[in-house]
Symmetry: C2
Subunit: 407 residues, 2 copies
């Protein structure tokens, strides 16, 4: 089959299956993103093989890049809906949540692996380095899942949502610093305060400079653009701006999604924000599901088959890691004793690990610090947090509600 | 640079450059598509090298597939804006235009190459087979350029537009039949009436069956879909339907763009047509420019450098072919003596050759029927028709106007 025909068929089936499973979830009062993840697993390489995941398949990078466009468009939409001043007001609370949510899972993961509970046969290199990697993989929140659930439940404009978003951004900056450190360790480089500080400074500095410059210049530039006559100029300029700022963020040592979020925050300060938001919606509806379907497709169901004797150890370790992952982030909900909000929702909202966790695990595997079994267990942990979050968060918000309010 | 970062950067620059050049064209009263083509050449492999065109580059297939999504979305939008009954009323006129527009350039091209004007050193295999290939490459209209110009000038709802669109669809069906025949000839297979008839029957049959079944079923199916609750279900279903019908058309021996056009025609018969049209617009604004920028990027400016002595012969042949290409299609405007409309606009509107012409030339090159020089000359002809159409069509419509009317 020619590549183009296969691409059209795969994308068409993905979107159709995702939407109809999403509808099913909607009817049983679950967020549609759960349906997209589930149908992604079904269409993925380990079951039906519709979504390409193999390295040699020429469609794999195409779907992967479209999925990335999906996640940056999602983060852009979130940034666009977030007023910068409102986000700043939750700054201290979000920082506390982020630091606790990174430190507790890291420590628990490290202690678990140096404790007698661990499996020495899964440690390839030194025990301490492996334990550091296990801890690091447990740190980074993937905000995409939570953001979708909050949007699905119309809770984007709540104190909880703002704390989770702010914390997730800080969390990503911390996560990148940790990644730089553990990659260095895996490569045999020593730990230096200077190295850690530099990575942190770049991450925070990029955000600060981009948002400061952007908020000052964007309103004037977009006022000019609105006066242009050619069809679709506002949407296309905003879309190109988000892509370019995401790319710039990555080049500057930050991350694609942080750049996209910053682009959204910047354009939220323009008079054209509502028009852009409205026109971006159909674009998001095409691209965003591709991201969630792809996450599902990356799941190898064979690793989860408990009847396979080789999987028993992996599943036991994965179970332990999953408990640590959720409990560690739940602790973050109690990091801000001086404010009142739904602590369970914030803790659960920070729970999903995603692409950053997968990046950590992949670096460890490539560097020979993680065995294939431990890598699989970490993968199961990442997927597990992703799958439990939508129903748990829906439940927590239904049980204790969300906090509206001026801040 | 990681692939994702390069992809974001390339796509961002393409969209931004395309939009701003489009604005420039708008200001000098030229259709924006001309700006996208021009800036595509500038960003293409032979000048700045921003848009990937090399075979080894992993981004080349990605941009190519996005461009294909662009062209099918464009044809879908056109189909959606076309009422089936109105299109049928121009059926006889469109058929006459298509047949004359295929026959005249084919004959002129064939005669040119067997005449003393041709260059025998450019014929690799037998003169007659090469001449047939030259003729065939001159036949197929690429409707995308014309459709964009008509949309840019708000002339989609005119008799001329409907005749051009109908003729272009018939033209594509004829073109595929010719392609099947000449490919067979290049492979040494004999010409049979049965073979030609079969290809024609499949092409026309697919369109007829798809539209008949679709027009009967789509209104009911989309009435059900509108009652679904999940966000974006209407747009995503329509988008998936267009991709899948395009893929099916290709598999059935027809072409991607014919399937996409049929999908548009089918959905134009539903109550949700206007909503789909409105939501598809932002999606089109992102994808469609990628197609036109890619066409521009495929142009190798070095072939056009007249100071290079090796190019002189190629450019002379290309010039001859370009004249035949335009004159041959202009004749089609006079194919319908019994009706009154802007004959120049219809003739010029049929002039652009695009992807189908490139496919023909590529088959000939691969089969060893065309020399590299003749291939380059055909390429220049294809590009030339594409570049002259927007200004000529704008001029012709400005000079003699378009025909409104019930039919």
């Amino acid at each position: 089959m020619p590549l183009a025909v296969r691409f059209f068929t795969v994308l068409g089936i993905m979107l159709l299956a995702g939407k109809f499973t999403g509808e099913l979830c909607e009817r049983i009062r679950q967020p549609p993103v759960l349906g997209e993840l589930a149908v992604g697993i079904l269409l993925g390489g380990s079951v039906l093989g519709v979504i390409p995941t193999g390295r040699g398949d020429p469609l794999t990078p195409v779907i992967h890049l479209l999925a990335l466009v999906g996640v940056v468009v999602l983060l852009f939409e979130i940034g666009l809906a977030t007023e910068f001043r409102t986000l700043m007001r939750v700054g201290p609370a979000a920082s506390a949540v982020a630091v606790v949510g990174v430190a507790v899972p890291f420590l628990l993961g490290f202690l678990y692996w140096i404790s007698p509970l661990h499996r020495p046969e899964y440690s390839v290199s030194g025990l301490t380095v492996t334990a550091l990697f296990v801890g690091a993989t447990l740190t980074a929140t993937s905000v995409a899942i939570t953001a979708r659930v909050l949007a699905d439940l119309s809770c984007t404009d709540t104190v909880e949502a703002r704390i989770i978003l702010g914390a997730a951004v800080i969390d990503d900056v911390l996560g990148l610093a940790i990644l730089a450190v553990v990659s260095g360790l895996a490569g045999g480089r020593p730990l230096t305060v200077w190295g850690v500080g530099r990575v942190l400074a770049v991450g925070i500095g990029f955000l600060a400079v981009a948002i400061a410059v952007g908020l000052a210049l964007a309103p004037r530039i977009f006022a000019l653009i609105e006066r242009m006559r050619v069809r679709g100029v506002l949407l296309v300029t905003a879309f190109a701006f988000l892509l370019l700022l995401a790319a710039l963020a990555d080049r500057a040592g930050s991350a694609l999604i942080i750049g996209a979020f910053a682009a959204g925050i910047i354009l939220s300060g323009t008079n054209q924000a509502r028009t852009i938001e409205q026109q971006m919606k159909p674009v998001a509806e095409i691209f965003v599901p591709v991201f969630f379907l792809s996450i599902g497709a990356a799941v190898d169901l064979r690793v989860l088959n408990p009847l396979e004797p080789r999987n028993a150890g992996v599943l036991a370790v994965a179970g332990g890691l999953l408990v640590i992952a959720v409990v560690g982030k739940l602790a973050a909900g109690w990091a801000v004793p001086w404010r009142r909000f739904n602590r369970w929702a914030v803790g659960i909202g920070m729970a999903p690990r995603g692409e950053v966790g997968l990046v950590f695990a992949n670096v460890g595997l490539t560097a020979g610090v993680l065995s294939r079994e431990l890598f699989s267990a970490l993968l199961v942990m990442v997927i597990g947090t992703t799958l439990v979050t939508p129903p748990l968060l829906t439940w927590a918000l239904g049980r204790w509600g969300a906090t509206m309010g001026r801040e």
